[in-house]
Each structure stands twice: as structure tokens, then as C-alpha cells.
Subunit: 192 residues, 2 copies
DNA sequence: GTCTATATTCAGATAGAC
DNA sequence: GTCTATCTGAATATAGAC
């Protein structure tokens, strides 16, 4: 079994509560209650409530960027690269659904200068995706299309993935089949 | 020029502020400041802060449902129906970007019983979309696919649309070209 | 690490005068 | 419809004792 420090437990409890109620609606008291101690103890583990948000957002963002960088630096053709990006998103969403939920829903609650810093990372990620699609268009692997719109559509189309794994109620989705279906749609669309 | 009541002005100011700062972060004082009067006056127009959220969320939800119902009740084949759903989403996003932003970002701030009521409307809308795709698969217009996953992917893929119209900074997107690009992707994917 | 106590600030909402 | 004044509650965060 996994050994966790109390700080890790505290952050995990925070993460789950924020996912359930939202960042603003989650109070330090809520988190302390779930940990079974008084609010004031929370400040043994963090300096401020903002710290919790920053910790998860930047850590998970880094994970996405690392995967994207490896994929872009490979010699695969663009279609295989795109498939691997989709695959990476499914893997992260399946392994860390609450972290991804935070990225999707709570980044607006960051305060300056972290807010601007985070936006920059998001924009950078988007630009890497645009680059990938552009490469595919130039090599005639992808059709001629507006790569900016296509990037927005594709990134948006996989943004719901965390919900499939965050809610235990959902039937456990087979990640392999999920990837097959999504790649099928992104590559060839819905028409026969 | 358009004649507006002061209540309409108040709600519009609320809408824009909530879009800028988020619902929880927007205070009644913020809204009153923008209107140029004291907080207490706000309660001439609404009973509570929740009212603002409920008003916009349910009104815009109704708009989406009405469009979807008309499309489903038509005798068009499934591919044309799907195209019209996409077209409707673009139209609403272009005309009411802040309202759509609220639907995407702030529905979690509804309180019971409105929260449950709203979730039901969302689920209903999703089921209508599943029905549309199922019809297309049965009539061999769409390929054989997991219609639940396809519904999640397609609805998610057009969820970003409001951002293209909410931020004035973005170059004004031509809705006709936007529709052409998105329909092209949803129908045939990115491959040549 | 845990507690009690408290400082500080700020939010939603109401009462009542003009 | 507008204001002043105020109630009530709640939140983040800190100080200091055990």
C-alpha cells in the first residue's frame, strides 16, 4: 500500500473537495473538517488557500506539456502524433480526473501573477497543437483546413474526458476503446 | 435605438460582470457600482443574487432546447439535422456569448432545487443529441459508432464557441466560414 | 501538531427615511 | 428609486499556549 505524508493527504482531500464544491465554495474549514482537525492546522501544510490551486494546476499543466513535447519531437507523421496527443489526454484524465477537472474549471480563480503565468502556458500548449496540425496540412496528411479553428475544436472535443473518470457512477470506460472511438471521429468524422 | 428598462440594464451589467470575474467573485456591490448606485438599490430589481444566475441560465437553456426540438421534428436526414444543430450553436454563441459563457462556467453555482432542475435539462438535451446520432447510424448516414461517446465529443467540440465572440480582442469570426470548418471536421475529420 | 481565541475583512440582505 | 445605517454571518489567516 501507498505511503503518504499528512501533507499529501491534506492536498488530496482539498483536491476532492474542490472538485465536489468548486474552489470558491470550498472553505478551509471544509477541508479541515474532512481531515478531522481544526482550521488553523491547515496552515501547517500550506501558506494560503491559493497555494492549493497553484500546486495542482501547474503540476498537471507540466505533465501535459511534457507529453506534448515528447510527441512533437518524435519523427512520427502528423496523424500518428495527433493520435498520441489524444492518447495522452485520455491517460492523464483517467489517472488524475480531479486534477484535470481543476484545470478545466478553476484556473480562473488564480490570482496575479500566477493567473497570467498560467494563461501563457495554456496559450503555449495551444500553439504547439496548431504547429502539429500545420505540419500535417503541409505534409498532406491532413486536409486543407483552418488550423486555428481545428485546434480549438479538437482540444475542446477532448476536454470532457475527465468527467468519464471523475464520477464513479459512470460505467468504467475502457480507455483503449475510448481512444479508438475518439481517434475515429477526429480522423474521419461521423459520415460513413 | 433599443429601449431598455432599468431592470434590463441591471441584468445586463450583472451578466457582463459575472462573465469577467465569475459568479462567486462578483459582488452585489460590484454590480451596483457599475450601475452607479448603492448596493441596496440592486434589490429593487432582484430578490437575491441567485435570481440573476437562474434568469439567464434557464432562459438560454430554453433557447437551445427550442432550436433542438424544431430540428429533431423536421424531416431532414440526420446529417442535415446535425449540421443545423451546429449552426444553431454558432448563432446563439455569436448573439449571446455572455449567456453561453454563463451556461458553460457557472451552472455549478445554482442552488437546490434549481441545480437539479438545470442538470435535468442538460441531460435531456444530451439525450436528444444521442437520439439524433442514433437515427443517423440506423439510416446508414453516419458510420457505426458509440453514439454516447460521439455525443460527448461533438457537444464538447462546440462548447468553446462563445469565446470566439465574447472576447472583442479576437478577430471577428465569419459565422458562415466557421460553420463550414466545423461541419467539415465533424462530418469528415482531419484526414485528407 | 493540535487546540482556543481572535483579528480582519467582506459578503448578502433588510429597515426605514427622503 | 435612492440613500444611510445596520444586521448577520462567514471567510482567510495569525498568535500563542499545550
Amino acid at each position: 500500500m501507498k505511503v503518504t505524508t499528512k501533507k499529501e493527504d491534506f492536498l488530496q482531500a482539498s483536491l476532492e473537495l474542490i472538485h465536489e464544491k468548486g474552489f470558491k465554495a470550498t472553505t478551509m474549514r471544509d477541508i479541515a473538517d474532512r481531515m478531522g482537525f481544526d482550521v488553523s492546522n491547515s496552515y501547517n501544510y500550506i501558506k494560503s488557500k491559493q497555494d492549493i490551486l497553484e500546486f495542482f494546476l501547474f503540476r498537471t499543466s507540466e505533465e501535459f506539456h511534457a507529453a506534448m513535447n515528447d510527441i512533437l519531437a518524435s519523427s512520427y507523421p502528423a496523424d500518428e502524433k495527433l493520435k498520441q496527443v489524444i492518447s495522452a489526454h485520455i491517460k492523464v484524465a483517467a489517472k488524475k480526473p480531479f486534477e484535470v477537472a481543476l484545470m478545466v474549471n478553476e484556473w480562473r480563480n488564480l490570482k496575479e501573477p500566477k493567473y497570467t503565468e498560467y494563461i501563457r502556458l495554456r496559450d503555449l500548449y495551444e500553439r504547439k497543437m496548431i504547429q502539429l496540425l500545420q505540419e500535417g496540412v503541409q505534409t498532406k496528411v491532413f486536409k486543407d483546413m483552418d488550423v486555428h479553428i481545428a485546434t480549438a475544436v479538437i482540444l475542446s472535443s477532448i476536454r470532457w474526458l475527465y468527467t468519464a473518470y471523475a464520477d464513479k457512477s459512470e460505467a468504467e470506460l475502457n480507455p483503449i476503446e475510448l481512444e479508438r472511438q475518439i481517434v475515429g471521429l477526429v480522423f474521419n468524422g461521423v459520415l460513413v
